[in-house]
Amino acid sequence: MPSIRSRPTHAFLKLLFLGLCFWLLPQSAVASETPKRIVILQTLSSTFLEKSTVRFRAEMTRLGFKDGTDVSYTVLNAKGDYGRAKSLLTSAIDENTPDLVVTVATLATRAGRDLLSGTKIPQMFLIVTDPVGEGFVSEMGKTSGSNITGQSHVVPVESQLALVSQILQTARRDTPFRIGILRSTYPSAVSESAQLRAAAHQFPVVSLTDLGFPYLPGDSGRPEMSKSAVELITTHKDSLDGIWLVAGPNQTNLDFVNTVLATGMPIVNSGNIRNARLGAMLALQSTVELNGRAAAEAASAILSGTNPADIPVTRPSKFIAGVNVLTAARLGAVIPSGILELAQENVFYRQGRGN
């Protein structure tokens, strides 16, 4: 009789054990997989770029790719040098073929494209001003058809021109505002300047002039580029009503912006909210949160098996705006209500140096 009573208990324990084994088996298999290797190649050291990289990794974690467990990151900094970028990436690939190469900003992306083209290593870029102009994709919103995809962070030039025109129209001038596009030969800067000038004819309230100077990579090149900019502004001072800062390292360079402001020439537009606080009349940019989230979602899809050739190149659907009322007043304009509402918390009333 006692043996008869003990049989069901034993059978139950056996079933429980088997059930636990089956439950633990896939968990152990997942845990035992090798983490995906992601190589992040940054163009240079920039608060905006670095924040974007950090946000990308945070969003990856949010999507289930735990750092060290599901993915491992190798972060490289080209310091604004194309050759260095290419060299760093070659070494990283030779060390261990990555599952994904993430390139941040235009220069690093261009080096990655040159290196990875023809391979099966997927490449995803972010913070690239002009993917079409760089030849990464034929048209925004389309797929590249190759192993590269990514997102631009830049507001379309037509939108920038339209908003600037709306503000300047309130000045009710008979002649257009003469605005110089202050740009280095940095690829994204050249590209955006060209786009602006091509679209300018649709906006008669402004007249754009290209003011270019050489791009000098690294921290050592910054003062020289600031000097070149001041010289250009001084030279064209009488023929200009304002300056348009385009994408590129100088836009996020505080010293460069302060130097330009010190010339007394109003900055009409800049793709950085901080610059609006400093004195730029209008600033339109995407946020690191939006850029990081879009990049993480594309990277997650690639790591899950989606071919980059099937993922379209996009730009974020949302932007933030900043306006400087004082600079607008200096130009004899007021900020229209629609743009003022768009700026929301980024309405600035003073002009001055920042740090």
Partner: protein, 639 residues
């Protein structure tokens, strides 16, 4: 107008009224809803516009602290005005904006941007919101919604307006739609009501009407084709039962009437037969040598007999009229002769009362016309008899004149074949009280009961006259004044006669003139089972110089005729062994001696039966009691 037409005529105003009321309510309700909807729409638009165009911008200025900058306030006002202009263009509404002080600021949707007059007066009335219609100026009558926006730097009154004619056009569209729908509804409802009423009511009622007509004509109906189990269906079943009951009742009534007619015929025969004997013998007695007392008594017997005979005739006539059995003759007669013959007897009676009686005639030629002379004689006899009877002094005048169709009191169906004759009997007698004149032609009526006691009579005379006149298509009337006299006026339409009629009448009148020419001595056979009547007729015939042989039944009469020694037969109808009808048929059917004149003798006063006798072969029929003159005339005519 048929029931269906009446029903439709009654229902159409109801449908019109109902549909009209419904349509009017629908129209007014729709109009109110339209105005209310337009009000809500304009209020919402204006509220939304002020919120989006003005208040949003002002809040933005306040939030950003830019409301202290005039340039920003002005710019945002300008933006708001631009938005209002766009709103005006998109909605087709006019936007009027005033400063709170009443000064015009903006007009969106105005021609050439000219600000209209007459709207500024509303500004002071607008504290928060206002809606209504406003007559601003000739040609500018509009529905408006107004709202104010009151801030220190931004104090506007905004009006959104739409021409009242636009809303009115929608109202007109609703009115037109209402009329069309109402008319369609009227047609549909009337059609449905007509169809339903025809199906449920009118058709069954028409079937019931046809059934009722059949019942009225005493035609039996087996079934009325209404199968519904409702009131009409039950009525149909009731009518079917009623038809059966009526049919049974008519059957019984016909049987009873036949029995009554048979009884009257029998009674007539049974009374007339002895009366014939009484009168015949009395008249024979009058021709004998009697002393004055005997003569007076015999005369009284004759008079009493004639009175009794007249009463019997009146009763029989009344019975025939009531049963519809009276038929009128249509023969050619000479009115002048008739008038002459009828006036003669009354000359004597009037003379005995000291009255003058005369006839005044205005008749065109020919005097012959078609009609029933017997009944005309009866009419005039009654009227003259009454006139003489009820006149103690003075005169009695019979006026006869021909009247044209236009002057006839009744419609004459064919004036070219009709001669209207007016007879008026005027007396200077007692007269008739006005309140009694209307009932004087009713049966069994005399002016009062004392008249019956004083003058006698059944009271049937004038009633019979009236109904015979009506039967002839004529009219009778009375004018009378109590104590002064009475005129009874009779109009009768007679038929005209042809030349052929006149020729026939001339020869017949010559034969019947009865100038008491000397008759040939005929071998006359009298077949009569009643010994007294046989004796009377034999005596009269012998008085007329005839050779008479008497037999007692039809068989003997046939045998006697077959012997070939008979020139003339007077054949009683009712006889034992073989009646006169059968005997006549045998004589007429015989190979020889079948053309002997046969005159029927009958106590049956129903002339309808006389045709049956003639059909059997009799040449003529005399009704008992007959007179010597009647015997003479038939002998003269058929001998």
């Amino acid at each position: 107008m048929s029931l269906y037409t009446k029903f439709i005529a009654a229902i159409i105003p109801i449908v019109l009224l109902g549909t009209g009321a419904l349509g009017y309510w629908s129209f007014t309700h729709s109009r109110d809803v339209l105005y209310r909807t337009e009000q809500q729409s304009m209020n919402l638009r204006l509220e939304s516009a002020i919120d989006q165009f003005v208040d949003r911008r002002y809040r933005l200025l306040e939030t950003t602290g830019l409301n202290s900058l005039t340039s920003y306030v002005d710019q945002y006002k300008s933006e708001a005005l631009t938005d209002f202009r766009t709103l005006s263009q998109k909605t087709g509404r006019r936007v009027l904006i005033f400063n709170r002080d009443g000064s015009a600021l903006f007009c969106g949707g105005c021609e050439d941007d000219l600000f209209p007059d007459g709207w500024g007066e509303l500004v002071s009335d607008v504290t928060d919101k206002l809606f209504g219609t406003h007559y601003a100026a000739p040609g500018d009558h509009a529905v408006f919604s107004a709202a104010g926006f009151a801030k220190p730097e931004w104090n506007w009154v905004v009006l959104l307006t739409i021409p009242e004619s636009v809303v009115s056009k929608d109202v007109e569209d609703i009115r037109l739609a209402t009329i069309i729908v109402s008319l369609a509804s009227i047609l549909a409802v009337a059609g449905m009501i007509a169809w339903v009423s025809r199906s449920l009511l009118v058709t069954p009622i028409l079937k019931l009407k046809l059934a009722a007509d059949s019942i009225a004509r005493q035609e039996p109906i087996s079934r009325i084709d209404i199968n519904s189990n409702d009131e009409l269906g039950r009525l149909a079943r009731d009518m079917e039962m009623m038809s059966q009951a009526t049919h049974d009742y008519v059957e019984r009534a016909n049987a009873a009437n036949k029995a009554k007619s048979g009884f009257l015929a029998t009674m007539s025969h049974e009374i007339r037969t002895p009366l014939n004997g009484v009168l015949g013998i009395a008249q024979l007695l009058e021709d004998t040598d009697l002393n004055p007392d005997q003569q007076r008594k015999v005369s009284n017997i004759v008079a009493s007999g004639k009175t009794l005979l007249a009463i019997i005739n009146d009763v029989l006539d009344m019975s025939r009229i009531e049963s519809g059995a009276m038929e009128l003759e249509d023969t050619v007669f000479d009115l002048k002769e008739l008038l002459s013959s009828i006036m003669t007897p009354f000359q004597t009676a009037a003379g005995q009362k000291g009255l003058t009686i005369r006839g005044e005639y205005a008749l065109s030629e020919p005097a012959q016309m078609r009609g029933d002379p017997v009944r005309l004689r009866q009419i005039l006899w009654n009227l003259l008899s009454n006139a003489v009877k009820f006149t103690d002094s003075g005169s009695v005048v019979l006026t006869v004149k021909e009247v044209s169709a236009d002057a006839a009191p009744t419609s004459v169906p064919s004036p070219e074949t009709t001669r209207g004759i007016r007879f008026a009997v005027t007396d200077t007698g007692t007269g008739i009280a006005p309140d009694r004149q209307a009932s004087i032609f009713e049966a069994f009526t005399q002016e009062d009961s004392s008249i019956t006691r004083k003058f006698g009579g059944t009271g049937l005379g004038l009633s019979i006259v009236s109904q015979i006149v009506e039967l002839m298509g004529g009219q009778i009337g009375i004018e009378s004044e109590l104590g002064k006299g009475t005129t009874i006026d009779v109009f009768i339409p007679f038929g005209t006669v042809t030349e052929e009629d006149l020729a026939l009448t001339k020869s017949a009148s010559l034969a019947a003139s009865g100038e008491r020419r000397t008759l040939p001595v005929y071998k006359v056979l009298v077949a009569e089972d009643n010994a007294i009547n046989a004796m009377v007729v034999t005596a009269v015939l012998e008085k007329l110089g005839q050779s008479v042989k008497h037999v007692e039944n039809g068989r003997e009469a046939v045998d006697e005729v077959m012997r070939g020694e008979t020139d003339f037969v007077f054949m009683d109808v009712h006889m034992p062994e073989m009646d006169g009808i059968e005997a006549t048929r045998e004589i007429r059917a015989a190979a020889s001696h079948n053309d002997v004149p046969i005159i029927g003798l009958t106590a049956e006063a129903f002339v309808e039966r006389h045709s049956e006798f003639r059909n059997a072969g009799m040449n003529d029929v005399l009704t008992k009691p007959f007179t010597e003159d009647q015997l003479f005339k038939v002998l003269s005519r058929y001998g």
